[in-house]
């Protein structure tokens, strides 16, 4: 054996041992919606998630991580197929990223059945929040209903009496209307279900006009919300019937697209870019610096999800294989949320404060979403009581 051969052999031996000594990065599988009208939602979650990792120098909670991102195109089947590939061929144990509840409905049970952990940065469908709650399933954002319960409470606070409610006919849409009705003390005079792929709302506008309510509540996330708000204005309804929405129907992207049509809309949200806590200031500044746009609330949730995962990784020293230990560390939620204090309820959905927001013209002439006051404090969800873990 020549010296050269010996050296390279030793180097090879060293190299093949190296991964065992240095830590393997923890793989995180992100199934999210990146294409179609809802594409910017997933892009914001992904970008903020990556930002949190970048701010820690490629780590979360001091543990190196590697994020695999794939687009579900808002198709439940495609999401499920990606998740299965992540788990089987990439050996991913920790998944996140889903935006839409119908995709979550297909993917989450699959992940849990395979012994994986799922941490939701957005969708929080009612069917997984109550009886079907699971020790390895966490929602960092909100339970779907609570978003719209805040809108219902907001409408009640504002003294509206007769409401027409509209939402797409899918899980989150039905959760939205159930949530609104639970906290709205007035009368619901019209309940209209739209489609998740609808592009023209003219027939619905005519129905709203005919019902003559004194407030309209609607839930239309992403591109749907832009179209809805613009057509609401074009139909001349904005001047006559005020609109109460939760944040998905009026995020910072929709605001940019519809412009002045957003002035006067009553919004409620668990987060806004102007919340004064230190973590939020750091996040908003870093996000704007890196991506050159104002973070939407989807971005805030992507960031919080990354930090929540980071806290759990720190707690277990980077181990995800022992899901019991990981879940226990996750439940502590030992991180600085951009919402201020953060706590999981008994069903591992967060307990949030809800704020009322309005769109106003800032001193520089641009429109901005401004926090006005609190609607609900330390608000848990309706299904938590049914969860027995």
């Amino acid at each position: 054996m020549t010296l050269k051969g010996f050296v390279s052999g030793a180097a090879f031996a060293l190299l093949s041992y190296a991964p065992a000594m240095a830590q393997q990065p923890v793989k995180i599988g992100m199934v999210t919606t990146l294409s179609g009208p809802g594409g910017y939602l997933g892009a914001d979650v992904r970008d903020a998630f990556n930002l949190a990792i970048e701010m820690e120098g490629g780590k979360l909670g001091g543990v190196p991580v590697q994020v695999l991102v794939e687009d579900d195109a808002l198709k439940p089947g495609q999401g499920k197929e990606i998740a299965e590939r992540f788990m089987k061929t990439e050996r991913v144990r920790l998944l996140t990223g889903i935006i839409f509840s119908n995709v979550a409905g297909a993917v989450v049970p699959d992940v849990l059945d395979n012994g994986g952990i799922y941490v939701s940065p957005n969708a929080g469908p009612s069917n997984f929040a109550g009886k079907e709650c699971h020790a390895n399933y966490f929602v960092v954002s909100w339970q779907n209903d609570t978003l719209h319960e805040s809108a219902g409470q907001n409408a009640t606070n504002l003294g509206f009496k007769r409401a027409v409610v509209l939402a797409p006919n899918y899980q989150a849409g039905r959760d939205a209307i159930a949530g609104f009705k639970r906290f709205f003390k007035g009368e619901v005079v019209g309940e209209i279900y739209t489609r998740l792929d609808q592009t023209d709302f003219a027939p619905e506008m005519a129905q709203v006009r005919a019902a003559k309510p004194d407030v309209v509540f609607q839930f239309h996330p992403g591109g749907l919300g832009i179209t809805f708000a613009r057509q609401y204005q074009q139909a001349g309804l904005l001047e006559s019937i005020p609109m109460v929405v939760a944040s998905p129907s009026l995020d910072s992207v929709i605001l940019k697209a519809i412009g002045d049509a957003a002035l006067g809309v009553h919004i409620s949200s668990h987060w806004n870019s102007d919340l004064p806590n230190a973590a939020n200031k750091e996040f908003v500044a870093a996000f704007q610096k890196k991506y050159g746009r104002i973070p939407s609330y989807y971005a805030s949730q992507g960031y919080d999800t990354a930090r929540a995962i980071g806290a759990a990784l720190k707690g277990t020293g980077g181990k995800v294989d022992d899901t019991k230990a990981f879940s226990a560390a996750m439940r502590k939620a030992d991180f600085q949320s951009v919402r201020g204090d953060f706590k999981f309820g008994p069903n591992q959905h967060p307990i949030n404060d809800w704020y009322s927001l309005r769109v106003e013209r800032a001193s520089d002439g641009n429109l901005a979403i401004v926090t006005k006051g609190k609607v609900l404090e330390s608000h848990s969800d309706f299904y938590a009581k049914d969860c027995k873990m």
Binding site: P37, G39, P203, R209, T227, Q234, G236, A257
Partner: protein
């Protein structure tokens, strides 16, 4: 009553939009025998080109022709570089290739414009709504869409029924090989026809821009309904496309508008609304199945 009229107008407005898309699709399929899934992309291209020019110049009157011409030009390039190679292939190859084009155009649009939807103002002179009669108010812009759509339909009819190009189109739809045998430059005809179809799709995109959001993937949303129109109307027939589009537009709108009320009288609880929404979404597809059962070639097939 006024609600019924307003919903009927909404139905007609959806109908003319569908007609503009279906006319191109049906001509291309009827005459060239090509299934063009990327037809929706041309609609998207028209809308994006219009939105971009409108935001740069601030003028809808410059932006509208820009959108039309871009869609037409891209359509002709698409025919020249891709579709031309597919005439002799079977439908599966065509579907695969044009599906590939959808992915290509969607990604290209993401690269050029990003994922966030673009916003276009309704031009000033078409803003607001007017009192038609009684207490029926309707947005001026939507009336303009109906007018432009109907004028285009008349123009297409004249083009096909009264001009030499139209004669060739009709001849091509009836017997492609005979037209070629008579020494007509069929390749030029095909490119021109493809450009025309693309321009019609672009026109629909241009008109949709200010009311819908201009976004990646907007083409696929309308494509399915457009195929339903083509199937109901009869493949290859522009008249069939018009009739089919009007039927689909009005039926779809009416079901959405009035089915929930009907269901609410038949049953109680929130299930009525959800069920009605489900049924109204199925409505046009059931209609299509019904038409195919009675007239397997559609209402007005071109090949007789």
């Amino acid at each position: 009553m006024s609600l019924l009229i307003e919903q009927a107008l909404n139905g007609v407005q959806l109908g003319v939009m569908l007609f503009l898309l279906a006319a191109g699709l049906t001509l291309i399929f009827g005459i060239m025998g090509v299934i063009n899934l990327a037809h929706g992309s041309l609609y998207m291209i028209g809308a994006f080109a219009m939105a971009w020019v409108a935001n740069k110049t601030g003028s809808f009157l410059i932006a509208a022709p820009a959108g039309l011409l871009t869609a037409g030009a891209i359509g002709m390039l698409m025919e020249f570089f891709v579709i031309r190679k597919l005439y002799a292939r079977d439908h599966l190859d065509q579907v695969l290739a044009t599906f590939g084009l959808i992915l290509f155009f969607n990604q290209l649009t993401v690269l050029l414009f990003g994922r966030q939807p673009l916003f276009v103002q309704i031009p000033g002179f078409l803003e607001g709504s007017i009192l038609l009669f009684g207490d029926v108010r309707y947005p001026v812009y939507r009336i303009a869409i109906i007018a432009v759509g109907l004028l285009t339909a008349i123009g297409l009819y004249l083009l096909i029924a009264r001009t030499r190009l139209g004669m060739l189109i009709r001849a091509g739809a009836t017997n492609r090989d005979m037209v070629r045998a008579l020494g007509v430059d069929i390749r030029l005809l095909y490119t021109a026809l493809f450009g025309l179809g693309a321009m019609l799709a672009g026109l629909a995109g241009v008109m949709a821009g200010p009311i819908l959001s201009v976004q990646v993937g907007m083409g696929e949303q309308v494509l399915i309904l457009t195929f339903v129109v083509v199937v109901i109307g009869g493949v290859g027939s522009v008249r069939g496309a018009f009739v089919g589009a009007m039927i689909v537009g009005v039926v779809d709108t009416m079901l959405r508008a009035f089915l929930p009320q009907t269901f609410r009288q038949l049953m109680t609880g929130p299930d009525a609304d959800a069920l009605a929404a489900g049924f109204s979404a199925m409505g046009v597809y059931m209609l299509m199945a019904l038409v195919l059962l009675v007239k397997p070639k559609g209402l007005m097939p071109a090949h007789g």
